[in-house]
Symmetry: C2
Subunit: 505 residues, 2 copies
């Protein structure tokens, strides 16, 4: 079966029929988990497995707020392997290189299903190599919340790493030696998983800003360490210093001003890439010069947004995930730095509207972009899995204006091409591409094109960007993969927008 973008859809999955196709229909919402009678405290993972009767075929979920410093997923994986469990589905919100110990579990059939929003490193390579028995599912951040709340992704047990837990089982990510900030991606799991385990290395009498409610926690498991602080958050987030990246960032800010996106009370988000982040100081300068204040900034929060909050330039931060230590501190101390759940952030069915729908603009990155403005951030041009949507497709759909910033050529490969290897975000949701060689505007946004006339910005058709890239690099030859389908890329409504096929050896 093919979907509306002409991409293959494996059997048993629904095809993508356009970004708005299913959000205009009624949606099913299953009830959240009822409050537990009494939260149990344990110090043994084996005891937790016994108490919960964890067995073959179950689905275990995790969050990724500890990022590349996470110990919890590996710890649970090791216990599964020790018990000889088979055919488990792991559903972490993201997978990082630190999760390499899962590879032998995938090879041995302990883990045969994987549902995640982002993966890179050895696990991603194992999936691309066809080692996972079933088709991996790659959701968006909002789509994962939707899947959980609608019953599409039933979770037997959620193992949620939490930096500090109080004696009532309330958890926070803002305190403790493993502090990672907001726990937004864990909120749906805590509410909907049949059983909920908080895994922590700090138990306190009370936590100041509980993000996970103890009433829904079956077991608190105390372990020596939930993660490596060095991998959890970077001390500070790095902006690009590359002059090409800075030109792209500057042009993007000029464009935003020109199209009227920078008016008083606007709302914004930038992806975590160095070029996207580099737009922020230019936007900030315009705000100060013109006396503008932003209503909110959302998404992954960095030090530069904290500074803007503290200096009164941004009224509220809507934080689903902290990217650096300043963000963690601010989230802990400042009531205007709000935590939001993955559902409130990007679930297309969040009532009345997820935060992404209220964005005036979002600045995103890309691995590949094609002539239909489709964007790939899931695979590289060889079909290797190097990421995934995260919030890419959620914000691209929600924001009034979606801008992709990227160098036109990276590692001698053109970024603009006829047809992306994998569609992560459909072209209908992408409005502008800003490169150092020119800016392309999606023909479905003639209003933007009109406003850029006479702006001095170098606006060119997207085909022209491709031609420029080809003049620099030649036309790369990309043999289409014929391997079996190893992953289904799901759009936020649960339909399949593309698949990833097994990479050759």
């Amino acid at each position: 079966m093919k979907n509306d973008l002409g991409r293959d859809v494996p059997e048993g999955f629904r095809p993508f029929r356009g970004a708005d196709a299913s959000t205009t229909e009624p949606h099913r919402l299953i009830p959240a988990k009822p409050a537990v009678e009494k939260t149990v405290f344990s110090v043994s993972l084996s005891d937790v497995f016994d108490r919960l009767g964890i067995r073959d075929g179950m689905t275990l979920s995790f969050h990724h707020h500890l990022r590349d410093g996470d110990f919890v997923i590996n710890m649970v994986g090791a216990e599964c392997a020790r018990r000889g469990l088979k055919d488990l589905t792991f559903a972490p919100s993201s997978v990082f290189p630190c999760h390499a110990p899962l590879v032998p579990l995938i090879e041995s059939g302990t883990i045969t299903g994987l549902v995640t929003n982002y993966m890179n490193g050895p696990v991603a390579d194992a999936v691309a190599a066809g080692k996972l028995k079933r088709i991996a599912i790659m959701d968006t951040h909002g789509g994962r919340a939707r899947a959980i709340e609608s019953g599409d992704l039933p979770i037997d047990v959620a193992f949620l790493a939490v930096p500090r837990v109080d004696r009532q089982g309330n958890g926070t990510g803002c305190e403790g030696r493993s502090a990672c900030g907001s726990l937004g991606y864990a909120v749906p799991d805590a509410a909907y998983a049949r059983r909920v385990v908080l895994v922590t290395d700090e138990i306190a009498d009370a936590v100041a800003k509980p993000e996970l409610d103890g009433r829904f926690v079956d077991i608190v498991l105390e372990v020596p360490s939930i993660g490596d602080p060095k991998g959890i958050v970077s001390g500070t987030t790095r902006l690009t210093r590359d002059p090409v990246g800075l030109k792209i960032a500057r042009d993007t800010a000029t464009l935003l001003l020109r199209i009227g996106a920078l008016r008083d009370g606007f709302s914004m988000q930038t992806g975590a890439g160095g070029t996207s982040l580099a737009v922020v100081p230019y936007v900030r300068r315009i705000m100060v010069e013109r006396g503008l204040k932003a209503r909110f900034a959302s998404g992954g929060i960095t030090a530069q947004y904290v500074e803007m909050l503290e200096s009164g330039l941004v009224r509220t931060l809507k934080d689903v995930q902290c990217f650096d230590l300043d963000a963690v501190r601010s989230r802990r101390e400042n009531a205007a730095h709000e935590g939001i759940s993955a559902s409130e952030y990007g679930n297309p069915f969040f009532a009345p509207a997820p935060v992404v729908d209220l964005l005036d603009f979002v600045i995103l990155g890309a691995t590949e972009i094609d002539l239909g403005f489709n964007v790939n951030v899931t695979t590289d041009s060889l079909g290797r899995i190097i990421g995934g949507s995260g919030g890419h497709a959620d914000t691209a759909h929600g924001a009034k204006t979606t801008i992709v910033t990227t160098n036109l050529v990276k590692a001698r490969l053109p970024i603009v091409m006829e047809r992306v290897t994998t569609v992560t975000t459909p072209g209908e949701d992408v409005d502008v591409i800003v490169t150092e060689r020119g800016i392309a505007v999606n023909p479905k946004r003639p209003d933007i094109l009109a406003r850029l006339e006479g702006s001095g910005l170098n606006v060119v058709p997207i085909a022209e960007l491709m031609a420029i890239a080809h003049r620099m690099t030649g036309v790369p030859v990309r043999p289409a993969s014929r391997g079996r389908i190893v992953a289904a890329v799901r759009y936020r409504d649960g339909t399949v927008i593309d698949v990833v096929r097994q990479t050759g050896r």
Copy 2:
């Protein structure tokens, strides 16, 4: 048809089958209204009616944040009458005495349907007298949000009074000469009504804390005045000074301490009644003595909660409605004073859980209580409509412990009786009744009973409270009404928990 409490259910309605019966099943959620292309500004209500094609049989909705000072519902009603429209359904979140001008519209058949959460005054009297053609529906605050989001209450046009609107159509209740604070009850209407009109008497360049998003606003209608400030909020909220009320309040605080509800990080709500509010200073004293801090206080917010927020005793206020001017100021200035929507507040299907589900305790009032702990706040003992649930049934169900405080006898009538005239809140959701003559604990809470042993509090069976009351007043004779059904009282899940019958003449 009878429901699980043995009460009548009119044809075409679903019977109440217990407080948890339908919240454990999947729920339907319809999509919110898409963003509008361009918000139109108008200064003529007649122009608005023409543009929207308002016609016979439509449903028009309103909120009640301007309380007894509201001009907007009457203004819209007058235009409907002027145009000779018929068979309209009005769906205001509450109705007050100031809405008396609707009575002739009910009599003339301009308004034949009414859906609301609370009503008193001439409109309530007209409904009880059987003047409304169809059966009025009385929802809870959370149930109204559920009805709107599930498609049970489709709204053609929402007319939302907003104290200040900016040029993008964003609205706030915290600023302007008619400032009323949080607009939480209007949020579902703004998101789900087919067409949305903000009615305002102040248009500004920008508003600081938009509560209604301009992207969902079809028309902004500027009028000379949306309400009478004297009726909108009282300057300060009055606590009882009656020594009987104070004894009840003091005993309630002692009980809360005794049952362990006052631990660090607890969450609370008190109803707006003078006795419920009088509990707060006693709770505050215990908090200061023991160094306790509350996680949040929710619901209608008053000056005393603002003081506790500002002195650090309460970490966050979750405000669906401001009851006095201090609350309005605090909501405007303090980021820890959060606005919440009616859905987030009490919708049983709000994902993952509405705020009421996170309450450790709620203190509520009652007009009548019966031996099954059922509570009536909808009618008086003569069957006249004098109120309605508002958030009563929502918080009673959500809170871990629900306490009803009331004088045992009011106006020479016993408050505790064999069977309440009208069930607003089912007895399964009511845990404790505190009166000046004794405290009754619901037998389904043996844990509370056990903790009160040896406390010095006068705990008695509820039948004993009734006997005491009868000794004071005699046994009142209450002839059962045989009139036609004039109102259906809906539980928060949309099932009918009781009906109100026409009062005799």
